[in-house]
């Protein structure tokens, strides 16, 4: 469905992505793992053009784009087909939960207000926030804010949702509620790319795991292949580090 090829991106002298390719089929849950600074965020941001890649291509059904030269129209098209869930939620802080979710519908997609409200409420219900429609972000816990962030992404009915470490900014006791929402979406067949350090979660939902390091994809495969039979030394090291009692089968 979506193929990204050979993405390169530098910040000044620092080459952060050194030719990364990734393929996503409809219904896939692709988990991206990798140490901090390996370029995961930059990769996700390049897909929806929050970051302009220096080179690389994007193919999506009958859309074929050069990431560097994509026109404003193409960018708008991709952004309508994708949704992004940020590490720090990034809700509109002057808007209520409901308004946050409605914004992408009423403004960007010209959905009539009544209908948008209905869709937004359904999305909030789905993430378990039916009691919090009229709360402002500052009145919500981190976990609740991130669930609004997810509802905001779900509401626009995107073809794919990009999650950038959705639980990294949360207190440990709030991680579960957010992961559960994402799991539900995964089980319903939502296509997604998830950058995360939550290995248990990844094992449960991922049908494809990509391990990145130093701006490269080091290794990719099924969850079973990567977690239980990693081939690359660097993957093994990484897994040992984040899972102290990790013991993979050779």
């Amino acid at each position: 469905m979506l193929t990204i090829r050979d993405v390169r991106k530098s910040f000044q002298e620092n080459e952060v992505l050194k030719g990364v390719s990734i393929e996503v089929e409809k219904g896939d849950v692709v988990v991206i793992l990798g140490p901090s600074g390996s370029g995961k965020t930059t990769l996700l941001r390049s897909i929806n053009f929050l970051e302009r890649a220096d080179s690389g291509t994007l193919d999506w059904e009958d859309i074929h784009l050069d990431l560097k030269h994509a026109s404003r129209k193409d960018v708008a098209l991709i952004r309508k087909k994708t949704a992004f869930v940020f590490q720090n939620y990034n809700l509109f802080k002057n808007k209520t939960a409901l308004e946050n979710v409605m914004e992408g519908l009423t403004v960007a997609r010209k959905v009539p207000k009544k209908e948008a409200e209905k869709i937004a409420k359904e999305a909030l219900d789905k993430v378990g926030l039916s009691e919090r429609y009229d709360y402002y972000p500052s009145q919500l816990s981190g976990g609740q804010q991130q669930r609004v962030g997810i509802a905001r992404a779900v509401a626009v009915n995107p073809d794919i949702i990009l999650f950038d470490e959705p639980t990294s900014a949360l207190d440990p006791e709030l991680v579960g509620e957010v992961l559960n929402v994402i799991k539900t979406l995964a089980k319903e067949g939502t296509t997604m790319i998830v950058v995360t350090h939550e290995i248990k979660f990844a094992q449960e939902v991922a049908n494809k795991v990509v391990f990145m390091d130093g701006g490269f994809v080091v290794e990719e495969g099924s969850a079973n292949e990567i977690f239980n039979h990693p081939k690359e030394e660097r993957t093994q090291q990484f897994l040992r580090r984040i899972l102290p009692d990790y013991d993979y089968a050779i």
Partner: protein
């Protein structure tokens, strides 16, 4: 008691004329502030773009307006345009143009300050849900800076009302000009009319600006807590 200068206020329609003069002052200020808010927001947005040419131009505009005394600008527009280009501007129109130029610079700088204080991620989450650049400003960013700008805009209004006294110098019959006319006309019959007239104007200015500052203070307090 007959000799008290206060009676100058009630001679003919003197008091009404003063009020009318004050109204012209306020009208010029309000129109100029309204225009300044609109243009100031645009200028503020322009000042935050990366394009170095646009940046330099807005910077020059800002410095130019700030360095120039408002009186010079007034003369420049009122006499300069009339003489050099044969454009015939009334004193009031010239005043509105000059105060708008000034207010736009002031507002623009305030808007720029407010804009750069909005975290980058507010723009990004707008973009990520498919809003165009303009929609991000219109629906996400400007509402967030508005609460901060309204008190500042009101403050600018009171400053303008005070500065409008300058426009008497290009023949606009605003409150101070009316005052001078009244004093002049009663020079012999009411010798101390100046004290009474200017005293009255003192209160007129006070009652024009005081409620405005009060509103500004209340808004500021109200929005600070939310």
């Amino acid at each position: 008691m007959q000799d008290l200068g206060i009676r100058v206020l009630f001679l003919g329609n003197n008091f009404a004329r003063l009020l009318q003069g004050l109204w012209i002052t306020i009208r010029i200020s309000l129109i100029a502030v309204a225009l300044s808010i609109v243009f100031g927001v645009l200028l503020g947005i322009l000042m935050t773009v990366k394009n170095p040419v646009i940046k330099a131009m807005t910077k020059i505009y800002l410095e130019f307006i700030r360095i120039m005394p408002q009186l010079v600008l007034l003369f420049l527009v009122f006499f300069g345009l009339t003489k050099s280009y044969g454009i015939n501007l009334s004193g009031e129109t010239s005043a509105i143009i000059v105060f708008t130029l000034w207010g736009t610079a002031e507002m623009g700088d305030l808007v720029r300050g407010a804009l750069i204080s909005i975290p980058k991620h507010q723009y990004e989450s707008g973009a990520a849900i498919g809003l165009t650049k303009w929609q991000v400003y219109r629906y996400v960013i400007i509402p967030q800076i508005l609460t901060r700008l309204v008190p500042l805009a009101i403050n600018l209004t009171t400053r303008m009302i005070k500065t409008t006294s300058l426009v008497a110098l290009i023949g606009v019959v605003e409150v101070l000009k009316v005052a001078q006319q009244i004093i002049e006309a009663n020079r012999y019959t009411v010798p101390d009319s100046a004290l009474w007239i200017y005293g009255t104007i003192f209160f007129l200015y006070f009652f024009a600006c005081w409620p405005i500052s009060l509103v500004a203070k209340r808004l500021e307090k109200k929005w600070k807590t939310t």
